[in-house]
Amino acid sequence: MSDCCFEACQSQRLPDPEDETFLAVRNLSVHYGAKVALESVDIDIQRGRVTALIGPSGCGKTSFLFTLNRLSDLIPGCGVGGRVRFEGTEIYSDGVDIGLLRANIGMVFQKPNLFPVSIRKNLYLPLREHGCPVNQLDRRSEEVLREVGLWSEVSDRLDASAHSLSGGQQQRLCIARALTLRPKLLLMDEPCSSLDPMATDVIERLILKMRGEYSIVIVTHNLAQAQRIADDVAVFWCHDESGCVIESGHAEAVFRAPKQPDTVAYLAGQRG
């Protein structure tokens, strides 16, 4: 079993990142205390594309996502090893402005987590935090609400509580809130898992619309969803209770002709 992991993870070794690589991850590991959650992950994320992270639960997909914007710093006992290079900057080096990093790498969570304030203020808060001039708050808010297709639905009640929106609307407002800061990369952690099929469809179409302008890394358990929206895919797998990436590449290629036996079984619904 561990031999298999060794080989599987070895097959993912990538050369040193080139300067123009959008996001390069090399030999990344994550541990919580003594427990290793993720081991030797090598992956390149391409600019303007949608990368789906798939694989069984507990294989470190969310842990991986949390390392990309250093949200892992907030988790007590969480340690990260290896390198993450975002647009030429090593994000785990000293002197990195974490506020700026997180403005450049936005995140949308599994459950909508809007602040308990009005729709308008949910958008204002990050804008004000990052120094947006007062006279541009409204314009920028309208822009992002239009981008996520919420403007027509909420333009007449911007001062209503954000929690009064439906689940799907809340999730789109979360996306809008992340977009206020014009991030280059958007991390999405199973953004549709708490939504009904209709709301899921709206979000999926939004992701397809955002492709190109934004780069997106999305964790999903829904293989059909990954097939619908992803340009690239990375398959996470558990070996000896720690996760690693066993296969990655163009979505079409991975879905059509998976190379690893575990991927074949997973995609066929026989394992994981």
């Binding site: 809007l114 935090e129 509580s161």
Partner: protein
């Protein structure tokens, strides 16, 4: 069929019993409260008029009003809150927000607070007398009394604000961090407003304990029933005045009247405090 019927009947009887028990205990509690307030109003309401609230104390309280007592009470409470609120808020923030990485510190501070909260007030009085009155040379004064009270109020206030802050979903903290917001602006803009109910509850418990306090003030702010000239002057708190009146013959009517004023004061201050906190601090957030 018959078995299920008898089971249904038994369930009905059990339901009825539990319901009677629940209503009975709730009714008893309410009845005790009503008796207490009724007795207080019955004996005390007659003694209250404008003169009673605006005149000075005469014949050690048997006659005249309670105006200087009210002023002393307010001053003691003001000193107590002016010290307790900032220290309490900051400690609660430390415990709930910054001690995640240092659980030992949090446990140590928390345990000390729990022990302090259980210390009888008379012990606080002795401490206040030894420390504020004698060691710091403040003497029997409103300042000593207020500071002693704040030592008493702080543990309760801190614990309840801390609970309020801990009850704020950690989703917000994660969301704020993911947007690159600093810890401070998250605290000011989201966490404290969302934790406002806890702050209000803590304030009410604190004010309640401070206004009701007799024993701790006996040794610190003293008995003087004249109008206090400054914070360094001795002043008699309302609850202490009531205690004193029950000790002098013929003081009972005014003791009752002062009791009504104390309860009314407690109600008004509590309403005011919770309204202020909910609207000024909590006004930034919307609860659905």
């Amino acid at each position: 069929m018959s078995r299920s019927t008898s089971r249904g009947a038994r369930a009905k009887v059990a339901d009825g019993l539990v319901q009677a028990l629940v209503w009975g205990t709730a009714g008893t509690v309410s009845a005790v409260f009503l008796c207490l307030v009724g007795d207080l109003l019955w004996h005390g309401l007659a003694g209250i008029d404008l003169d009673f609230l605006t005149q000075g104390v005469e014949r050690t309280g048997r006659a005249g009003g309670i105006f200087p007592i009210l002023v002393s009470t307010f001053l003691i409470l003001a000193v107590c809150l002016a010290v307790s609120i900032p220290i309490g808020l900051l400690t609660a923030i430390l415990l709930s927000e910054f001690s995640r990485r240092n659980p030992t510190l949090s446990r140590l501070v928390g345990a000390s607070l729990d022990v302090l909260a259980g210390v009888p007030s008379i012990v606080f009085g002795l401490f206040g007398n030894a420390f504020f009155c004698i060691a710091l040379g403040m003497g029997f004064s409103i300042l000593s009394g207020g500071l002693t009270l704040s030592c008493m109020v702080l543990p309760i206030f801190i614990r309840s604000v801390e609970l309020g802050l801990r009850a704020v979903p950690s989703d917000y903290r994660l969301a704020g961090a993911a947007l690159g917001m600093s810890h401070t602006s998250m605290l000011l803009k989201i966490l404290l407003p969302a934790g406002a109910p806890g702050i209000a509850a803590g304030l009410m418990l604190g004010v309640g304990r401070a206004l009701a306090e007799t024993a701790a003030l006996m040794f610190t702010s003293g008995y003087a029933d004249r109008m206090p000239s400054s914070l360094m002057d001795s002043g008699r708190a309302l609850s202490l005045h009531i205690y004193d009146l029950t000790q002098v013959t013929g003081g009972r009517p005014n003791a009752y009247a002062s009791g009504v004023v104390l309860v009314a004061l407690l109600l008004v201050i509590n309403l005011l405090a919770s309204w202020t906190v909910e609207h000024i601090v909590g006004g930034r957030v919307q609860r659905v």
